[in-house]
């Protein structure tokens, strides 16, 4: 089954052509019109995020994906598209394109949840056995799920204020380090000593699986405002360690409470090396399996949309041309 997938839920416009056979996937082509290079001259203030940019990019990007895949729309079996959560004006661009393609080619149109798709991105490369615990951690999301099957995702907990990736960006801004914050903080953290600056581990003493990163940002702000001397490398190391430890601890708690032994970590922050190392160390020590998609499948992409769309279609979920977008996901809570 050949799937064309579209993702426009926030900053990134992404299109992919994926061939699904059984439960394995072959990526024929996937492109992301990454806007990060356009952002940097503005020092953290990011222009051209809204729908207009998606509108300008989506048509040429789709053409290029089809060319690279050597794929004709006549071969198309299915169109999958992110219909939420995200910015309504941005989502509408992708959904309209998907509707036009599905209508023109008379193929099914399948709506996909962006966060659910992140949890499944790993299936582009590996096949962990269900069920697993999924940690989705990015600039816009920080959430833990139990994934019982490709279409059954239950929410365990999520952030009560800032997403982890957002905390990286804002701390980088407070320290005058530029945008995006993740890579620059990680690079500086490599030569820093995380033990020199004590930072809180928010929510660790709190039962359940929710996260909070706003207090960590405030702790950094307080240090900067206090006029105390510190090495920026040490602060970056301490901050990164605090975020990674909270993410890993909460995930371990979920594994142990639910008696599961597989974890999938996805989203932009999954590329963070300290987070990966910490997960791998714990996995060795405690005997669980941990999976990370490749970096290009961790950040927003359309391959994950194709994968989720494929399973949703197999489960009988497809949309009419009346398909609407939504701003916020409403996952069922895991019954504990």
């Amino acid at each position: 089954m050949r799937i064309l997938a579209i993702e426009t839920s926030c900053d990134e416009t992404a299109v992919a052509v994926v061939e699904a056979a059984g439960d394995t996937f072959r990526v024929l082509s996937h492109l992301v019109a990454s806007q990060v290079a356009l952002h940097r001259p503005f020092g953290g203030v990011v222009p051209e995020i809204a729908s207009r940019k998606h509108l300008e990019v989506i048509y040429p990007l789709t053409r290029r994906v089809l060319e690279e895949a050597g794929f004709s729309l006549a071969e198309l079996d299915l169109v999958a598209v992110t219909s939420g959560p995200g910015l309504v004006g941005a989502l509408v661009v992708g959904v309209s394109m998907a509707k036009a393609l599905a209508f023109a080619r008379r193929v099914p149109l399948v709506p996909v949840d962006h966060v659910k798709a992140h949890s499944l991105a790993v299936l582009a490369e590996e096949s962990p056995r269900f069920p697993w615990v999924s940690l989705v951690v990015s600039g816009g999301h920080t959430a833990l799920f139990v994934v019982r099957s490709p279409v059954e995702h239950y929410l365990l907990g999520h952030t009560r204020d800032d997403a982890a990736g957002e905390a990286f960006d804002k701390v980088a801004k407070l320290l005058g380090l530029g945008y995006p914050g993740g890579p620059v903080i990680s690079r500086l953290a490599e030569t820093g000593d995380p033990s020199r600056i004590p930072l809180p581990r928010p929510m660790l003493d709190h039962p359940g699986y929710d996260f909070s990163f706003s207090g960590l940002k405030t702790a950094v702000l307080h240090l900067v405002r206090s006029g105390r001397a510190f090495a920026v490398q040490d602060l970056c190391a301490a901050f990164e360690a605090a975020v990674a430890e909270v993410l890993v601890e909460k995930t371990l708690r979920a594994l142990s409470d639910l008696g599961l032994s597989r974890v999938v970590v996805s989203g932009g922050v999954a590329a963070n090396r300290r987070l990966r190392t910490l997960f791998q160390e714990e996995a060795r020590r405690r005997g669980f399996e941990v999976y990370f998609p490749s970096p290009s499948y961790c950040t927003d992409n359309a391959v994950m949309v194709a994968i989720s769309g494929y399973f949703e279609f197999k489960a009988g979920n497809q949309a009419s041309l009346e398909l609407d977008v939504y701003a916020r996901s409403q996952f069922p809570r895991y019954p504990l």
């Binding site: 926030c10 503005f42 953290g44 203030v45 990011v46 222009p47 051209e48 995020i49 809204a50 729908s51 207009r52 959560p85 995200g86 910015l87 309504v88 004006g89 600039g139 816009g140 999520h158 952030t159 009560r160 204020d161 800032d162 997403a163 990736g165 957002e166 960006d169 804002k170 801004k173 407070l174 929710d210 706003s214 940002k217 405030t218 702000l221 307080h222 405002r225 701003a327 916020r328």
Partner: protein
């Protein structure tokens, strides 16, 4: 105009919760203040006061730009942190404003004065204390 000093995030939330009582659909609140000065915390209180269910978390909209919450009056939580003034026009603020209460963080990034009943200025005083100045216009 009123000036408030809050001594904890919970006090900042309570101030927002009390303020929600006077709000009606179509109201716009422009928020000004630096990172970590209490803006999102204040909006969490507003949401509580507007009857947004407790299990619906009011989280930072910096990434998604607009969050919508169900309440006695729908609450639109907008964050212009990542936007340049030119792009704010693309957000379609004029479409959402009549539908509920709209609260806008980083109003410094608005391209022009927006007619708003409230302007609220946040200032970091110490690790736990914030100064919150509320200006009301007829």
């Amino acid at each position: 105009m009123s000036v408030h000093k809050t001594r904890s995030p919970e006090e900042t939330r309570s101030l927002g919760e009390r303020m929600a009582r006077e709000l009606v659909p179509g109201d716009v609140l422009l928020l000004y203040g630096d990172l970590g000065s209490g803006k999102t915390t204040f909006v969490q209180g507003l949401a509580r006061g507007l009857g947004v269910p407790e299990e619906v978390y009011v989280v930072s909209p910096s990434f998604a730009l607009i969050h919508e919450y169900p309440g006695r009056i729908p609450l639109f939580h907008v964050d212009l942190y990542r936007l340049s003034p030119e792009e704010v026009d693309d957000l379609g603020l004029s479409e959402i404003i009549p539908r509920g209460v709209t609260v806008i963080e980083w109003s410094e990034h608005l391209p022009e004065e927006l007619p708003a009943r409230y302007r609220i200025y946040f200032r970091y005083l110490s690790e736990t204390e914030r100064e919150i100045r509320i200006e009301r216009r007829a």
